[in-house]
Amino acid sequence: MNADTSPQLKAVDGTSLDEVNNPTSPVVEFTDGPGLKLEGGQVLSPFKIAYQSYGELNADKSNAILVCHALTGDQHCANVHPITGKPGWWELLIGPGRPIDTNRFFVICPNIIGGCMGSSGPASIDPATGKAYGIDFPVVTIRDMVEAQVHLIDYFGIDQLFAVVGGSMGGMQVLEWAACYGDRVFAAVPIATAAWHSSQNIAFHEVGRQAVMADPDWCNGDYLREGKVPRRGLAVARMAAHITYLSEEALQQKFGRNFQDRDDRSFSFDADFQVESYLRYQGSTFVDRFDANSYLYITRAMDYFDLAARYDDILADAFRGTKTRFCVVSFTSDWLYPTRENKEIVQALNAVAANVSFVEIESDKGHDAFLVNEPEFFATVGGFIQAAAKRRGIAEASN
């Protein structure tokens, strides 16, 4: 890998990694066939999908669970992250004996199209030019992410996924799967999500994008070719976004007005407060593992998401006749994708008499609640998955 065409991804231990073009994950390249027809009209061909899988696909291929990641997530949901060295982001939910038991289910978690962990995205090499796509990469949508996943599921020879599970943007993919490929989804678990991106959420994303684009090192999107990385812009975008993932209560409880490494104000613009230090840390570590252009593309995809738009603004029509069993989950302190927006999905499903469960989990962790240890959330998802697996006739874990 040529250093000036790859982002400056570095592991915490200082070793260089290139998860964009030489990921540690397995990669499936789709070189033949019609390519990926995008909602924007372009065709991405060839394209590749990096993924992680856990457990084993059973003989009749009925035990596959597709896990869809969120904006800043990736495919490393239940294994140590190759760059950060941290545990998988859903390690508490997915694994042997976990609510999504990998002794029983075959779990696939692909990196989304547009991502930067091995699937085709703005940081990956355009085979036509031999250089990184940069902002020549076509704008993709949630629907496009799902279409790419369909290719991967076909590659595995899976007719019907037992379940599709995801939170936040992952939840949007779950809804797309259920709407477009309902007969290929036995059970769907959209978590802390919405059927359309609200004006406030678009506004936050725009702040993030402007922060990236205001960084001179962004170089009009060409930073990879220039051998630069818009670290400051992306870090600011991450800092602003991170606030929206928490709650006022959680921030106040965790940091209050506590000082960082000092007893009083410094009368400067240092990170006097713990919360400032925390956000700066979040910003700087994010830059080590995420491509700035990917951040632009993925936030755009979320902003464009409005599932009902294809159905004359009647969300229920997206699910009419569905046989899929749904479990919608929201969290009390999530103000980014509040219970109200999750309940709109439930109302639409009720309107077509779909089989739907809906729970609101009490938590002060904000939107991030779906990523942290919330036992009631795990019990809910585990109970729903087990009941659905029994209904689907999937054998219990042997050990």
Partner: protein, 220 residues
Amino acid sequence: MATMDETADRFAAEASEIADQPRVDHQLIAEMVTAGARVLDVGCGDGALLHLLSDNRGTDGRGMEVSRENVNACVARGLSVIQGDADVDLDDYPDKAFDYAVLSLTIQATRYPKTVLENLLRISRHAIVSFPNFGHWQIRTSLLLTGRMPQTRNLPEAWYDSPDSHLCSIVDFAKLCEAVDAEIEEAVAFNSWGRRLPINRSIGLQNLFGERAVFLMKKS
């Protein structure tokens, strides 16, 4: 609206004191429901009826419940339940979405019992409603002799603590059925020990001796 739930809990606790077996009204409801039917249990509490129906009748059951704790426990047990309020959320369902819509010992705690019943009859082919009978002789005599709001084994709270804002007698409920064009297919009254009152007797006797009742109805 935690009150509906408290009511259900109160009756459930009481029923389980009487005998460690399904509540009498649940048993009656299970007998009324045809095997394999699609059932919505409104105010499903801890999901006991949904379990009974699923185990004994092989139903495709859904629940609606106002208490978050109960909903989460139901879903964790594998039941299809949503958090919702009978007074508000029944509007979401399309016509004839279910074979049966069940409201057990909950209608007296709703804000708009008539609208709730109309919704039940709209969204399902058959509605099943159970309720405590305010026409029972002990309630009548209590009011007559003491001049105060009755407190009985079935209705233990003082009037100011009770979640039951719309108590009615069996005759009252039959009149409501008329008012909403509901045809009563079956009506069973029973007492706290589960003894059923012969249904071929007059409604006046049921109203006097039944402590609770279960009505099976459809839109006429």
